[in-house]
Symmetry: C2
Subunit: 342 residues, 2 copies
């Protein structure tokens, strides 16, 4: 079993997701800068996993903090981690929760325990999402997913893939189409790999094939993860998700999102306020070191897009399957809790 992010005596251990599936390499990070660099370079990625990694990064900072400058040191570490990636709100949520704890104690062990609690709760939320979401998947269904919202994107089990796993474990015949998810190829490299390990039948396609298989009646439903969900249900997720949602609507195929409550940002009324990360053009122009585009070509590389709530048939969270109108169903499920954005 792969551990996405693990707290050990030697430091924070992660499987390096940039070299999967060709290589299963683990890295051990011993300070906050190392964790920040791992998040920035996507050695660890996926909104919930980023949150767990950041919490453990702050726990490392707590171990190293000068007790005389406890809050200052932790605040400096928080700033380093908060600057890594702007879109996934779980990062800011986890950092805020760790800082709340830091204001009540100067014992690093309590911050380590808090980070481990965040991880344990994430797994529990994934399992609860699996139970709720599995009901959405009919026996014999073929599910399209985009990017990787699996064990590797979370503390374990997964959000969208957790729902698929739960249906599979319940004995349903579930097949998956995985979009390869350019530019970073999370679908090809991570989702296909996870599902093959679990014995869930998976077929890899390029992103631009999804419409073809929808038109040919080969896809029954779509489910993806999320990086940030606004108060009205608008959902930021990996670039390409919005297009898949439009295509699903055109073909009358339900499009679902699965995400734990740490992904909701009730401080934002709509998806228009969600910051969209722009990443290095080299992710598009180079693949595993090979150049695949002309030298000097202009490139756009938005890492996320926003799917409007009206294209989303349901949002699976640990409390159940939320349905439109989301302003009400989200508020009812999550109460007045609001995530903090960076």
């Amino acid at each position: 079993v792969v551990e996405t992010v693990e707290w050990t005596e030697k430091g924070v251990v992660m499987i390096d997701q940039t070299v999967l599936p060709v290589e299963e390499r683990y890295v051990t990070l011993t300070d906050v800068e190392g964790v920040a660099e791992a998040i920035r370079t996507m050695k660890v990625r996926g909104a919930p996993a980023i949150g767990v990694a950041a919490a453990m990064g702050l726990a490392l900072a707590a171990q190293a903090a000068d007790p005389e400058r406890w809050l200052e040191d932790l605040e400096a570490a928080r700033r380093i981690l908060a600057a890594t990636r702007p879109t996934a709100v779980n990062l800011f949520w986890a950092l805020e929760r760790m800082m709340r704890k830091a204001r009540t104690t100067r014992d690093p062990h309590e911050l380590i325990a808090e980070a481990q609690a965040i991880k344990a709760e994430d797994i529990a939320m994934n399992e609860a999402m699996g139970r709720h979401g599995a009901e959405l998947i009919p026996d014999g269904a073929t599910v399209l997913t985009h990017c990787n919202a699996g064990a590797l994107a979370t503390a374990g089990f997964g959000t969208a893939l957790g729902v698929i796993r739960a249906a599979h474990l319940a004995g349903k015949d579930v097949k998956v189409f995985a979009d390869e998810t350019r530019p970073f190829l999370q679908g090809a490299r991570l989702t296909a790999w996870e599902l093959m390990h679990d014995g869930v039948p998976v077929t890899l396609i390029t992103d631009n094939m999804a419409a073809f298989f929808m038109k040919n009646g080969r896809i029954d439903l779509v489910i993806t993860g999320a990086d940030r969900i606004a108060a009205n249900g608008d959902t930021a997720n990996k670039i390409g998700t919005y297009g898949v949602a439009v295509l699903a609507r055109h073909h009358g195929i339900p499009f679902y999102v699965a995400a734990p409550s740490s992904t909701f940002d009730l401080s934002l009324p709509s998806g228009e306020q969600i910051p969209i990360e722009r990443r290095n053009p080299a992710e598009v122009t180079h693949l595993f070191g090979s150049r695949v585009a002309p030298e000097g070509v202009a490139v756009e590389n938005p890492a996320f897009d926003v799917t409007p709530a009206e294209l989303i048939a349901g949002i699976v969270c640990e409390h159940g399957v939320l349905r439109p109108p989301y302003v009400e169903s989200i508020r009812a499920a999550l109460g007045s809790r609001s995530a903090v954005s960076g």
Copy 2:
């Protein structure tokens, strides 16, 4: 200036499109098997260019034919070429035209001249399409294109890119977004390269980003080439085209096709009858020799899809811009001419 396919005394010379833009390598093919292999492996690709290459392949066969077995030898060569790729009808159209000529003469020079005429006419048709199509592109427009329908896909100038080039040459301010077009990356490798050579501003994006830029108002119209157009206007083109057309419709953006009359197959009442090539899974799982997916993963690799006529705002051919209803406008433009499918 790049020559996509050229008849020379030494044989048929092509630029190898599998290694562009990293390398500008030319190959010289001296027999029909060599030309067939170049078509199959996509050293030459693009429906009109495939037609020209196949015609020149038959001309090579004519040079080598035993005068006593003239038609048998040419028919054997025709069969080899016809078996290379099933979707682009220009291949079968060009082969049929060459065989018609072969039935009237036993002079290889006449077949060489016929192949060169097919090439010259293709360039002339592209230029005519450019004149008609340029009117569709407003000054200041940003055009999205998918795959490569440029000089490299034709005998020269291009279909969709020919329209863009013509607007640019007419002094209009035209910008292009090029989908990279997985799995073969014709957009990244060929379209971006062609447009940069011509000084047309081009921005490279991954296929799954098109919806994002449409939503953000960054794309004014879409234009692509075609591999086969049925009598009702349904259009087969590179995989992903159909999805782009659906997204364009959702965002109220006009979607155009540009193709010469050799791309129309009036023997097919609708796109449902167009054969869709399935290619090697390794095109999806490997990129420039690097494996990007788990060993043994199941893959689907349809090379084309069909865009229904109702999503197409206009079809640019050498006779003008055809408009719906296409059953009538196509028949009026092309008369009783019908391409032969393989």
